[in-house]
């Protein structure tokens, strides 16, 4: 487990697990509360892994739909946030179908104007986010999972199906490309 996954925002553990239990029983409004609590984390992950806001929003929806269906198998061994996070990684990485269109849809978002893009933060952060989005998919996934989200290489290997050694190599490549892009 990594220590970078924050506890559920805006709710105590007791309240959180109560929501989960109710959602597991089919309580849609409880699930909606879970959505509100966690969508920020999920979307941030999807956005960085896909590099494209439209794609990330679709993936985010996929994640929550999948979570609803899989809630039955969540037994509370780990924090719900951790479980959801892993599920999000699986959904995004296993679902790269639109990767070919991805770089073009970045252009669409730009062409349609600022209303479809998240509000810019500080200049440096935006540069880094853009540089991450421009990485090749394998390197980007590993960089986001390792350096942004804090997973270990063994965990990344398990989640993505690549070897831990490949994960290290991809990380090295990603860091190199990013430094070049930001120099």
């Amino acid at each position: 487990m990594n220590d970078r996954v924050d506890p559920i925002a805006g709710g105590s553990d007791v309240q959180g697990s109560d929501l989960v239990r109710r959602a597991q029983g089919g309580d849609r409004s409880a699930f909606r509360r879970l959505y509100e609590d966690h969508v920020g984390r999920v979307y941030a992950l999807c956005l960085r892994l896909t590099g494209d806001p439209e794609d990330a929003m679709e993936r985010t929806q996929d994640v929550f739909v999948r979570a609803w269906g899989k809630l039955g198998s969540f037994r509370g061994e780990a924090a719900f946030a951790t479980w959801l996070h892993r599920l999000a990684v699986n959904v995004v990485l296993a679902d790269r179908r639109s990767a070919g269109r991805r770089e073009r849809r970045v252009d669409v978002a730009a062409a349609l104007g600022p209303r479809s893009q998240p509000a810019p933060r500080s200049g440096l952060a935006v540069d880094l986010e853009r540089a991450i989005a421009a990485l090749p998919p394998g390197a980007r996934a590993v960089f986001v999972l390792y350096d942004v989200e804090g997973y270990r290489h063994e965990e990344i290997a398990e989640m993505t199906g690549i070897a831990a050694g490949t994960s290290k190599a991809q990380l090295h490549r990603a860091r190199k490309l990013l430094r070049e892009a930001l120099a």
């Binding site: 959602a23 969508v39 899989k70 062409a111 986010e129």
Partner: protein, 230 residues
């Protein structure tokens, strides 16, 4: 340690996972080598920046409605499910929920952005632009926000600009011929879809197919443009 070795092992050094002997060798090299020290600094800065990225980002739109609608197709949570996906649970077609011509607007604005155009783009596009505009105008006023009107303006501007100010790319005559032939095929398909849409204007699936076919047209043009690049 040589500079090359240092560069290779900077990752480990920054994470503190070198053994004592290597760590000393690394530190000694970095103390005396400006170039490698610069590399180490930029790596540290990168990792600090990455760690400082926001952990949460709110999506630009509220996504709950889309999720809620799809939950209808899933069995209630808590029911044990096997691998099989129930027939009802299916991804909705891409672009569902967006007004049709926002999507086509995006497609055409895209062609403009990528500048992957040749003089072969036919007059059909202007006709299509007009038809979609009329279709958009006949939508109930409540459905059309200021954003939609902005998209419309952009859409028409983009298509006008494409049709008026195209520059011929330096493609071989053989390539041009292939593109021309295949564009004809695509335009014929687009025309058929338009006719069908006229008979059934509200049909989301037809609209989506039209968009997808338009996307194929753009793909083809981009592919042609790529073949002309060095």
């Amino acid at each position: 340690m040589t500079c090359e070795e240092v560069r290779k092992r900077l990752d480990e050094w920054v994470e503190g996972s070198l053994d004592e002997r290597d760590e000393e060798a690394m530190a000694a090299h970095l103390a005396s080598c400006d170039a490698c020290r610069g590399e180490a600094r930029s790596l540290e800065a990168l990792l600090a920046a990455a760690a400082g990225l926001p952990r949460e980002i709110r999506p630009p739109r509220d996504l709950w409605a889309g999720i809620d609608a799809r939950l209808d197709d899933e069995p209630a949570a808590g029911v044990e499910r096997g691998e099989a996906v129930p027939l009802a649970a299916r991804r909705r077609p891409r672009g569902a929920g967006l007004p049709p011509w926002a999507l086509v607007a995006a497609a055409l604005a895209l062609v403009l952005v990528t500048a992957a155009v040749t003089s072969i783009l036919t007059r059909n596009d202007e006709a299509i632009a007009l038809k979609l505009r009329r279709a958009g105008e006949s939508a109930p006023p409540a459905a059309r926000s200021a954003d939609d009107r902005e998209d419309e303006a952009r859409f028409l501007a983009a298509s006008q600009e494409l049709l008026a100010g195209l520059e011929a790319q330096d493609l071989s005559p053989e390539t041009m011929e292939i593109v021309r032939r295949n564009l004809e095929v695509i335009d014929a398909a687009i025309a058929e879809l338009q006719v069908a849409l006229e008979r059934d204007p509200g049909n989301g699936e037809l609209t989506r197919m039209l968009l997808a076919t338009y996307q194929r047209k753009i793909d083809l043009l981009e592919q042609a443009a790529r073949s002309g690049e060095g």
